[in-house]
Amino acid sequence: MATSRLKALAATTASVPITLFGLVLVTFLIGRVMPIDPVLAIVGDRAPADVVAAARLELGLDRPLYVQFWIYLTKLAVGDLGRSVMTSHTVGEDIRRFFPATMELATVAIFLAAGIGIPLGVLAAVKQGTRIDHTIRVVCLAGHSLPIFVLSLLSLLVFYATLGWAPGPGRQNLMFDDMVPVVTNFLTVDALLAGEWEVFRDAVAHLLQPAGVLAYFAMAFIARMTRAFMLDALAGEYVITARAKGLSPMRVIWRHAFGNISVRLVTIIALTYAGLLEGAVVTETVFSWPGLGQYLTISLLNADMNAVLGATLVVGVTYLGFNLLADVLYRLLDPRVS
């Protein structure tokens, strides 16, 4: 049984490079067919013709598309994503700087979302049809149907502008800017490493609001899926068996019914987390959060194609990675999948 499981795992893993290649190809092509002239973006629209021609040559844009793609691939193979016109850093450096901010946000959000969403979903399923169930459903529906920028703005309006409980947009108070040495680029972790409690507290305070908005959105989805899965599980014959054994209601619900859906939930949570990592664009914009989403948006508006390609690739690879992780976990955790 163990060997067949390993084989299936190997097969899943083998499909990753192919998907990755497709991702690079599509991203590259979209970047090239977009009606934006990257040369113009660099030299400006008043540059003389020979400068434009020289820049075009330097970028290799005069070569056939497949040669350009090959060059991009060979550079990508050694981790070279090119240089960002906008920041004049390499795209790799930029991503190392911006991605941790997004990850920090998404990680806090997913913990909040799962920590609240799962118990809510289980509760709603156990109390199906009661007032508790309806309340939870309305709360989740709101999280799901309100556009996230509305939610973000409302949150800022209420908690920052009116009540003054939360700090405003941004990742930290300007006063603390550059106070802690950069190690991981996770501000909270760096602040802890430096032992700067005030910076840490400030970073957490800034983090909570955008993370809360993202978490609400993700929580709604997780709670809804948990409820649906649980209803399915609670209707199972083995739940009758568990009750007939004289087990406590808590044990019937959590060990038997929830035990049967936890594997599926792991998949849901992994994919939601991946979605948060890539999809925080709007939230990051509203909260001026210097993450990958914001980097991607600004690069796109500035026709900074290397940056756009690089950021898109990171998002794609992240999604693929989590997909793979979910797959592997599914195979490891569910005894029925071989």
Partner: protein, 275 residues
């Protein structure tokens, strides 16, 4: 141990009002083996499960009396019921493919039943589980204990189920069509095993089935249910003296090697049976 059911009715809400699934059923059960036979939907499962109060959520149960060894099941809350469920009365369901938890090993599920009612350590429970598997005549109990339900055959699964329900040493076993999902060859084995264990432990048994001759073979007494009612109660040896036309009809539909019939009769149902 004595189970008394008086005037039990179970109803379900439907679009057109309450629909009665069990209609004023009265039964008593001492330390004996009672068979309940009837076709699908005749209310035999609901009647048996009402003793454990394990009815679907929407079911409405009323009775003049429903007691398990003097405990009033009608007014008992979940906590009080848990003192009966498993510990004093076990329930075996039809298909182990669905009634065993698919993500727990057979051993874990038996050990859980044992530990819930016997207050012992984890290792003791595991040993007890393997011992119980041996008691239900599984040759390689350690291997089966480590197996998940989907790795077991139907017959094996039902043995695991029996071992699990016998773990707390209950006084009553309710077997709800325990062999319907099994191959014909395995059916007899499982029934013989169950009957052997029940007799040896001096337990009471409620065997639900649609197989009238089979039930009469294994039980002391048979209750025949039709459309939510007990239409006839017979001693196992008195099947030939059955009076109710439904019971007679069932018996006559049965082909027998000793009295071959060129053509089996089709039962004609009298609407008067429903009144």
């Amino acid at each position: 141990m004595q189970v008394e059911i008086q005037n039990l009715s179970i109803a379900f809400p439907t679009a057109s009002g309450m629909s009665l699934a069990v209609r004023s059923v009265s039964l008593t059960l001492g330390n004996e083996k009672l068979g309940i036979v009837g076709e699908s939907g005749s209310g035999k499962s609901l009647t048996a499960r009402s003793i454990l109060k394990l009815l679907p959520r929407s079911a409405r149960m009323t009775a003049d009396k429903l007691t398990f060894d003097g405990i009033d099941v009608l007014s008992a809350n979940e906590n009080a019921m848990r003192a009966i469920r498993g510990k004093r009365a076990g329930l075996i369901l039809q298909d182990p493919k669905y009634s065993l938890n698919p993500v727990m090993t057979a051993g874990e599920q038996i050990a859980e039943a044992w530990r819930t009612h016997r207050r012992g350590g984890k290792r003791e429970a595991r040993e007890a589980a393997i011992d119980l598997l041996a008691q239900v005549k599984i040759n390689d109990p350690a291997r089966v204990a480590a197996a998940y339900p989907h790795e077991l055959s139907g017959g094996m699964g039902q043995r695991v189920m029996i071992a699990m329900m016998l773990a707390p040493d209950p006084e009553l076993l309710i077997a709800d069509e325990p062999t319907s999902a099994l191959d014909a060859t395995v059916q007899a084995e499982i029934l013989r095993l169950m009957e052997d264990l029940v007799s040896r432990r001096g337990m009471a048994l409620i065997l639900i089935s649609h197989d009238l001759p089979l039930v009469s073979h294994f039980c002391d007494r048979v209750a025949v249910m039709y459309a939510g009612r007990v239409v006839e109660e017979l001693g196992a040896g008195e099947l030939a003296q059955a009076k109710h036309p439904y019971t007679r009809g069932l018996l006559e539909c049965m082909p027998a090697l000793s009295h071959p019939k060129p053509r089996l009769p089709v039962m004609t149902r009298d609407p008067a049976w429903l009144v």
